[in-house]
Structures are given as structure tokens and as C-alpha cells.
Symmetry: C2
Amino acid sequence: MIQRIYKPEPERLSAALCDAHGQMSMASLETRLIVAATRHADALGIGYRELMADRNVWVLSRMSIEMERMPAILDTFVIETWVESFSRHISYRNFAVLDGEGRPMGYARSLWTCISLDTRRPSTLAPLDCAAEGRECPIASIPRLTAVGEPVETSEVTFSYSDIDFNRHVNSARYVERLADALGMEWHDRHRIVRLDIAYLHETHYGDKAHIDIARSEDDTRLDADITVGDTAVCRARLTVAPR
Amino acid sequence: MIQRIYKPEPERLSAALCDAHGQMSMASLETRLIVAATRHADALGIGYRELMADRNVWVLSRMSIEMERMPAILDTFVIETWVESFSRHISYRNFAVLDGEGRPMGYARSLWTCISLDTRRPSTLAPLDCAAEGRECPIASIPRLTAVGEPVETSEVTFSYSDIDFNRHVNSARYVERLADALGMEWHDRHRIVRLDIAYLHETHYGDKAHIDIARSEDDTRLDADITVGDTAVCRARLTVAPR
């Protein structure tokens, strides 16, 4: 029987996995969402092994994460995930992060594309009735992100060995990590990220030098970022923020 | 009853968590060992919560990891851990990494110190009979690491937001990550790390600028590294390597 909602065992957040604020970082949460997605795809028979048999892989195109609160040291939490819709080339997949009592801490939406490793173009999947139709994801849709306006601060980053995944591209969560680093500790001490919208536009490789351009809204509730390599925007992100 | 050997459920390594070679990286393995140690300490009643009640924390002083092979994409593996000896201020803790059939993939040894958050000096723990006396850890002891000799290559790193843990120090595994990055992708394409010995000598903070000095043995089987901030060696590591 098809497992329409993937519900692993709840776990407790180890102190060793927490950020400077004793919580799960946004980059670490995104990694966990991706792992949950990957495990559910494996369980559905549309995972790494099955796709690789045809030289295809899932690529994360967009992710929107909205959290009321982040799991903190020794908090119990669980990440549930389900497919909202599945078509020939793409899949919309949602997530709920629940606490130890099953109360929502936040939700996420994501868009995945199946591409051919040989052509790097979208590849076609067989139809699969796997969507969990009843399950709600009560956060706003994935937005279109446009290039950042002025004013802009720029920093530079070179992607290194630890940023690269098995596919020889920069790991999706590492863009979030580099953006979080560009903001600096003082910014994180004063702000909490309420929502992250991120679009992965182009693959980036080992040794690529990227610019991170950041524009902040005047009321300090929003921050837009473009990550570019040469003249190409490779990743675009928006942070909705609140005082910590 | 005291759980002398911590044995979690085996898991499968998600593709999303693999390095450029489709395997668990050494830094990622060290993080998992630390998490297993933390969970076992929680189960033994000498975890984060209990120690923090007296303003104490466990600090990792040394770690030696020796792997015959690393878990790769979709491999099943489990990390078991046990205390070898436990005295007033310190604890020696060992680890076994087993594959899906229970065969050893490698082992690790570690030394932990209990320190006071207020004085940053070793703190005293009540005696606890928790050692797993029969369990063997068939790898060489934790060595003393001395300062690197010549010839030396030097690179520079500044510790950023994502490197910092809840304790506001650089996360132990991040030194391994920065060292792995300093070696570069070509080095990793040609070499496999068979054993890591690492000693954490001084705490490092957000924004600290460190130098990584690396000396390679002439026969290309060993590599010694010092990470220094100013004139202080904060971390020292030795890699035993083999051709990939």
C-alpha cells in the first residue's frame, strides 16, 4: 500500500546539532526536510535508486519554509511530508514540523524537478497516484522571486569541498548557510527568520566564486538576496524576519 | 537498568547527506559520533540537562576515528557507543560503526572533559558505574599530537555564524570541515582518509581568524595540521591517508 504521508519516529534535538541560539538552524532544517523528502521518495519507489536506473535524479527547484518556532535543545519533533501533486516532470511536496505533542511548529512547501543526468533537462516519469489530497499546508504558496532592488550589500564566497554533494553540485542547504553567514552573528542575535523562500536557478560547482547581494526592507521585516556567479543568478532567497 | 552500550536503530544514509564521493564525509561522521555520545549520556543521566543543572557541560577533547570504509548512498549503518572509563572529570568513550549485517566499518575513540561554564575549568562528577568492560575497540589509542614540522602550506579561515554551537564556540566537527576544505577537491579525489586523530586544545569564537598549517609526509600516507589563532594552537589533527 502506498504510504501517502511519511511519518518517521519523533526525535529529540541533540545539543550537538544546535546553532548559537540553541536551536535548529534554518540550513539544518532545510537539510532535514530534504532528507525526509528523499526517504519518502525511496518508500514510494521513486527514490534515488529507481531514478538512477534511468540516469535521472530529483533536483530541488524551490523551497518555502515558515516556522512559528524552531526546535530547541532536547525538544522532541518530527517532520512529516507528503506529495501535494505529481506530474510528468515535477512534484510539489509539503512538510509539517510537529512538536512532541503533535502541535505544528511550522510548515514547508517545495517543488522538485526530475532531470536527466545526461542532458540536464527535465525527464519524464511514469504516472503515480501518490498525492495526499486531504492534508492541508496552511502557509502561503511558493512565490516568484525577482532580482533584488537597491540598497544592496555584497559579500563574496567560494564554494569548497564540503559544500559539494554526490552530484558534484553545491548542496541546496549550503546556499542557506552561506547566506546566514553573510548576515553575521549580530544580525542573528537580533533577528529570527520566520520564513525562508528560496529558488535554485542554476547549478553551481566546486571552486565557483559567488557574490551574495542583499537588500533589506526599510522596516526590517524582509531581506532579499541574490547569489550570482559571474552574471548568472544561481540562487535567489527571501527572508521574512521578526525581532528575536 | 544502565544501558552500557547505546545501540540505536540502524538507518540508511540519505543521498542528500553524502559528499562529492557519494559517501559520508569525515566531518559528518564526527558529528554523528558526537550525537550518539550525547544521546547515550542523556540515557545514562549524565547528559546536557543534568550537567547544566550544575552549570557544567561535556567538552570533546580528543577524537580518533579509523574507518575501513565509509557508509555510502543508501547503505544501512548504525553507530554504537559505550564508555570505556569514567572518572571524576573525564570520560573515555568508544564507538563502532557497523553495516547492515553488523560487520564493523570502523571504530572511534574519544576523550571528554566535564567543565564548569563559569570557571571554564574541569568540574567534578559523581561516580557512576557505566563502563562497558567487555567491549573491545580494536584501533590504536588516542595519540599525543605535536606541532607540525616543515614543509608547511598555510591557508586562512574566519569562523562564521554557521560554525558556532549553542555554547558560542566553534563546533568540533567544523574544524574537520575547514581542514577538509583546505585540502581541496583534487586531493579528495585522489585520497581517502583512513584515520583522523584530532585534539581540541582551545576554544575558538565567532569571527576568530585562524591559520591552517599543513605538513605532508613524503610518502603521501600522512598529513599533520595545526589550526592556530594568533600564536595559540587551538586544534591539531593528523590524517592517515590511502589512495582512493
